[in-house]
Each structure stands twice: as structure tokens, then as C-alpha cells.
């Protein structure tokens, strides 16, 4: 296996409380993100998901461990890693065009006005906001604001996209539409994406690889689930795929029960450097990996949280 685009090694985050005692939010986190891969991180709130994303973005230092991008250790934020914030983080005094142009001129300060304008327009068209260029964020709906956030992140042509629950503040219909668009855009641009979510369906629809985190404190990666569904997924058809329910049940099962009991059910050969890679729905797990202990990979019980 070639070196992945992003390699996370043994990162941890600790806080010293008022009483001087250390609280470990998470530790011993190892994973990699390959070029062109879409990776989702799922876990309950409090397990430090956003902190991991902030460390990858360079906005927060890790207490321990290293993050390498393209083989080089990161030291702070970079235009190579664009962030899409949960709260869209648009600047309300700028128009849609102004917000995107701010990013574009930060990336290419030497560009003239016409070139910046044309470049922005390309990404405004990509997220289907043509005609709304002169609007201010306050005049846009939540979904449109997040589209601007996506266009702003893509416009600087980053090596990778970091998304912090980008669709969680939206209503279900808008969320579905934006998820499909995210799929389309990622397929068109071959973007490498690392996304945080707590939505199982979103992860199945979008991700190639789903990282499952245990509950904090001292959260860790329990296992990495390979999405066995074909990459050409869509909302209408995804639930008809034969592997859909095994994967979904596996994820829901993890979130509902196993994320809490991980420490007690830890198998002897658990290695945080190589968390088990499972592929629910396939009769055999991916070669060279171990399935979670005491857990059949396939399960027939349908647990439904949504619908």
C-alpha cells in the first residue's frame, strides 16, 4: 500500500481541569485517508470528533502524536486543507461572490479581478447558486448558505476537504439534496474528503470508509468499516442494495450499544495502530483483518432509528 495522503499517528487530546487532573478526550488515534477517498468519522458527541477535525485542519494542536499530509508533518492551517464549517461561517458583510472571492484572492493574490470573478463563477455554478452572486448570507436559506460554504472551500482547489457535520443544521429535505450534490461534486472533482457526522445514513451514502469512535473520555477508534456498496449511490436506490442493511445495522448497533462497552469487550489482539477493518455484508471480512470480537459480521435484526 502506498503512503496515504493523510496519515494520522497516535494523536491524543488532553485537558488539565481546574483540580489539576488530566482528562483525556481521546488517545492513540491512528488512521489514514487515501487520495480521492471519502472518509467519515462517526461517534457520539463528546468523543472529540470536532477536535480531530480541527487538528487535521491545523486550527488546534494535538497533545500528542503527529499528522502527516503528503508525507510532511502539518504545522498549522493550510490552503491545502479547506474546511467546511458546521455553522457555514460565511462573512455576513460580504455577498456570496465576495465570500468566495475572499478565499480565491487569499489563494492566488496575484490574480486580476476578471480572473477571480470567472473562477468564483465556476464554483457558484457548480453548487447551483447561479443568480445569487450578489446576495448577502442573511438573504439565503440554510441550505444555500452551506452551498456557499462548499463553493468557498472547493474554489481554492484544496488537496483535501474537511467537513464538520456540514449538513446537520439543515432540514431533512435540504440535507438529502445537499448530500446528493456532495456526492456528485466529489465524483466530478475527485476530491479527497474527511467528514464528521453522527448520521448513519449520511455516512453510508457518502463514505468509502467509516471510522467508528468509542465514547469519550479516552475515546479510541473501535474499527474501520469499509463501505461495500457500489460508489454510484443515490438516495433513491441505496437502500435497495443487498449490503445496505447489514452495514446500516452494524453501524447502528455500534452507536447504540458497542460504543459504550468497547473497553470491556476489548479483544486481546486489538492494536490501535491497525484497528480492525470490517466489511459488513460480505461473507468474509477484507483480507488480513479481524472482525470485531464476539460479534457476527452479519446480523438480520433490523434496527431503525429513522424513517
Amino acid at each position: 500500500m502506498s503512503d496515504p495522503l493523510i496519515r494520522v499517528e497516535a494523536i491524543a487530546k488532553r485537558f488539565t481541569g481546574r483540580d489539576g487532573a488530566d482528562t483525556t478526550v481521546f488517545e492513540d488515534i491512528h488512521f489514514g485517508v487515501e487520495q480521492g477517498e471519502f472518509v467519515c468519522l462517526i461517534g457520539h458527541s463528546g468523543c472529540g470528533k470536532t477536535t480531530i477535525l480541527n487538528i487535521l485542519a491545523g486550527l488546534e494542536p494535538a497533545s500528542d502524536g503527529y499528522v502527516f499530509v503528503g508525507g510532511r508533518e502539518i504545522r498549522g492551517p493550510s490552503l491545502d486543507r479547506a474546511v467546511i464549517f458546521q455553522s457555514h461561517a460565511l462573512m455576513p458583510w460580504l455577498t456570496v461572490l465576495g465570500n468566495i472571492a475572499f478565499a480565491v484572492t487569499s489563494r492566488w493574490p496575484e490574480w486580476d479581478k476578471a480572473r477571480v470573478r470567472a473562477h468564483c463563477q465556476k464554483y457558484i455554478d457548480l453548487v447551483h447558486l447561479t443568480g445569487a452572486e450578489k446576495k448577502r448570507p442573511a438573504e439565503l436559506s440554510g441550505g444555500m448558505k452551506q452551498r456557499v460554504g462548499i463553493a468557498r472551500a472547493l474554489a481554492i482547489q484544496p488537496k483535501m476537504l474537511l467537513m464538520d457535520e456540514p449538513f446537520s443544521a439543515l432540514d431533512a429535505l435540504t440535507r438529502g439534496m445537499l448530500q446528493e450534490e456532495a456526492l456528485r461534486i466529489c465524483a466530478e472533482t475527485h476530491q479527497t474528503v474527511f467528514m464528521i457526522t453522527h448520521d448513519v445514513d449520511e455516512a453510508i451514502l457518502l463514505a468509502d470508509k467509516i471510522i467508528l469512535m468509542t465514547n469519550g473520555p479516552r475515546a479510541r477508534i473501535a474499527e474501520i468499516v469499509a463501505n461495500t456498496l457500489p460508489r454510484s449511490r443515490s438516495h433513491d436506490t441505496v437502500h435497495k442494495e443487498p449490503h445496505y442493511y447489514p452495514i446500516r445495522n452494524h453501524l447502528v448497533d455500534f452507536l447504540v450499544t458497542r460504543s459504550k462497552q468497547f473497553e470491556s469487550s476489548l479483544s486481546a489482539d486489538y492494536d490501535p495502530r491497525h484497528p480492525p477493518l470490517v466489511a459488513p455484508g460480505l461473507t468474509e471480512a477484507a483480507p488480513g483483518t479481524t472482525a470485531a470480537p464476539g460479534r457476527p459480521v452479519e446480523k438480520a435484526v433490523v434496527v431503525s432509528l429513522r424513517h
Binding site: P77, L79, A89, W93, A103
Partner: protein, 280 residues
Amino acid sequence: MKGLQLWGAPLLSVAILLVFLAVWHAATRQESGAQVVDAEYAKLVGAEAATGKKSAFPAPADVGRKLWEHVTDPFYDKGPNDKGIGIQLAFSIARVLSGFLLAALVAIPVGFLIGMSPLVYRAFDPFIQVLKPISPLAWMPLALFTLKDSGVSSIFVIFICSMWPMLINTAFGVASVRREWLNVAKTLEVGHVRKAFRVILPAAAPTIMTGMRISIGIAWLVIVAAEMLVGGTGIGYFVWNEWNNLSIANIISGILAIGLVGMVLDQALARLTKLVTFPE
């Protein structure tokens, strides 16, 4: 119904004004009779008022006539103690604006630096806390002693009193710029100067402008008192001079002019604030 919504408030305003003028008129109506005040005061205010033929306090019509004189001839200059109200106002406005703009030149950059760094914020805080509650007029003797010029001293007093609201609001506005906007700037690797002018300044602009609006209001309050103290020119001096002349009608005209100019200054800053305010 729509007419009432549109015209109701202005009509009521006019009605309140008319009632006020009527009460004023009734209270200052001529009364014939014997001397109603003591002899000393009668000498001071003149026989007419003292005998009760006419109250020393002018009727609305008298003030109206005086006002009309001022409005029709605001810029006459008949020596140091008799200048038109327009000239006096111009002196005061010039002092307020120069003191205010000087204060803005100092307070906004300094406030920016203070707001950027929590350490500097804490270091400056005790000084600001001590200096802020000092009545600006308390600086006057010190200013007169060091600057040796009454005009410059009153500008200095305006400078000092406009300083604090702008400084405090700028520091607060800069310190409370939303973290997510700063994070956007960070992930875009925006340099310090560009971040200051393109992110922090527009984000803090409404707070800074609010500080400026408070400042100009205070400056206009203080200039009247400062000019009463140092004399020479200005609307404050005008009012005090007319008190020495015991021309109540002129005093009232001066008070009215102070109110109107203060309103215009405040509204101008309110307009500017609106320009930089963004809807969330």
C-alpha cells in the same frame, strides 16, 4: 386606518408642542399690579418686569421673535461679545469635530491593538477604568496650564472625553469577533494586515461606530460646559454671555440650537452606523 398609522405620531407631536406653548404662554401672561418682587431684584431685572407688567421670563412669542432674528441673521459679527448664533455654533462644531477626530485617530488603532491581545487588554484595563470616570472638565486646568491656550484646551477636553467610549467599544468589538470567521481566515492562510482590514474591521465596525456615536454625544454635552468655563467664543459662551446680559429669550434660543445640532450630529453617526451594520 393607514392614515392614522402614518400621521398619528406627527399629529400627536404637534399637539404636545401646542399644549406646551399654550401652558408657557398662560404662565408668562402680562399681569398689571404693584411691584411683586423685592427692591434689589427689581433693580436687577428692570422696572417693567419688577412691577409685574411683564414677567422676566419671556413669552413664547418673544422667544419666537428672537429666534427669527437669529435665523435670518445668524452670522453677524459686532465685536467679541456680540456675534451671531451661527458663528458661535460653527466655533463649537469645529472644536467638537477636531477633538472627536483626533480621539478617533488615537482610540481606534489603540483599541484595535488592545482588542487583539488579551494580555494587552488586561494591562490597559486599570488605566482605562481610572481615567474613564474622570469628568472631562477636571482636565481643563491641567490643559490650560500645559497648552496655554483656551481654544486648544477645550479641544483637548473634547479629545479626552470622546476617547473612552471609542477605545472601549473598539477593543470590545475586536475582541469579540466570532471565532469561526477568524478560523476561516486561518485556514485560508490570510496575513495579519489583510485579516485586520478584511475580517476584523468589518466584523467590529458596528460596535466601533456605536462607540463613536456615544462619543460625539458626550463631546457635544461637554463642549457647552467647556466653553462656559473658558469663554471667548462658542455656543456655550453664547449662553453664558446671554445669562450675564439676562436675555432669557437668547438663552432659550441657544438651548434650542444646542439641541438641534446635537440631534443632527447623533443622526449623522446613526446613518454611518447603519451603513456598516450587517444583518446576521
